[in-house]
């Protein structure tokens, strides 16, 4: 039984993962969804990132100041969970960032990820931009798509998927509605 690679992303109803300025201020984070994320991330074996998203994530969560009065207990908890997680960054330009839990995949993406999935441990999350997600989808490497659809239409921005050669057929595995109007859809390759 290999580990699953699970795409995990908030999107707008019109399928965008960031607005035209790369902004995420539309992502509705409340205590309920934060508590869910903390439990979910804590049960994961690691996170596979694209470089841009990785740098954004690290910039925010590794530098979160726990004593800042604006930081909530749930954010402190998430920062602690993320701080202890294995990070795998797909990048040809990132060398290393000094974090001992970070490793870089620079080439042989399919081979490297297959080996990673064979290792013992819990499932892996995939948090990345459209190009890497579509590339991994075409390679058949993504086992589940967990999409958290926020109640907003952005009109323009960065899409969840890059233009694909063939339609990607999926089956719906589950759906969950959160307070705040977020609907979480779980799809798997058909």
């Amino acid at each position: 039984m290999t580990r699953r690679l699970i795409s995990y992303m908030f999107t707008s109803l019109d399928g965008l993962i960031a607005d035209r300025d790369g902004g995420l201020d539309w992502v509705p984070i409340d205590d309920g969804s934060m508590r869910f994320a903390n439990t979910y991330f804590a049960a994961m074996g690691g996170i596979v990132f694209g470089r841009t998203v990785y740098e954004g994530f690290v910039e925010y969560w590794d530098r979160l100041v726990p004593t800042d009065p604006g930081t909530t207990d749930l954010e402190r908890e998430f920062a602690g969970i993320f701080g202890g997680m294995e990070r795998i960054v797909v990048s040809t330009t990132l060398a290393t960032d000094g974090c001992e839990r970070t490793s870089v995949i620079a080439d042989d993406l399919a081979g490297a990820l297959s080996r990673l999935k064979e290792e013992p441990g819990n499932d892996l999350l995939l948090i990345c931009g459209p190009a890497l997600r579509s590339r991994l989808a075409e390679l058949g490497m993504i086992d589940r798509y967990r999409t958290l659809v926020a109640p907003v239409a952005l009109g323009e921005g960065i899409p969840l998927f890059a233009p694909t050669r063939e339609p990607l057929s999926l089956r719906l595995a589950d759906s969950t509605v959160f307070s705040g109007g977020v609907i979480m859809l779980d799809h798997e390759p058909a």
Binding site: D14, P151, A153, L160, T164, R171, L172, V182
Partner: protein, 187 residues
Amino acid sequence: MAALTYVTIMSLDGYVADEHGSFDWGVPDEEVHGFINDLMRSVGTHLYGRRMYEVMSVWETMDLAEEPPSIREFAAIWRAAAKVVYSTTLDDIPTAHTHIERAFDPDGLRRMKASAERDLSIGGPELAAQALAAGLVDECHLFLAPVVVGGGLRALPDGVRFGLDLLDERRFANDMVYVRYGVTGTE
């Protein structure tokens, strides 16, 4: 005062048709069609752009003898409803109860909503985009098909940001998900 709803089927990544214009992946099955019929029963008038009208007008004359109940029922509901087609060029109107508007006029649509006794439904993403941008759409009803098409005709408008309020959600056996939203205002 009637409500204006935008009802459409779209891919998970937000397209009503792929780059080849195909929407084979979004054809509703018997269960989903029955649900759509129930939504359509309260609609007194359908508003269409020209292309959507031409797609939909096949329902007027379709031979229904061999068709399943949901298809026969939809045809009856659709034929009885009034239609408004927005087109600068269309002259030939093959359907009954149909009226042509030469231009999209937000004030005209506002008056139509104010005076209508039954709800209005808007079809075709380009026409819907104009009504959404004008703040005239009250609800969006979307059927999310379990497919990623990566490009094509977008279901929701380019360049318009608006807030939504999730009102209802339902899963179907064919893996489509229905989501119903109130439009809370353009930003």
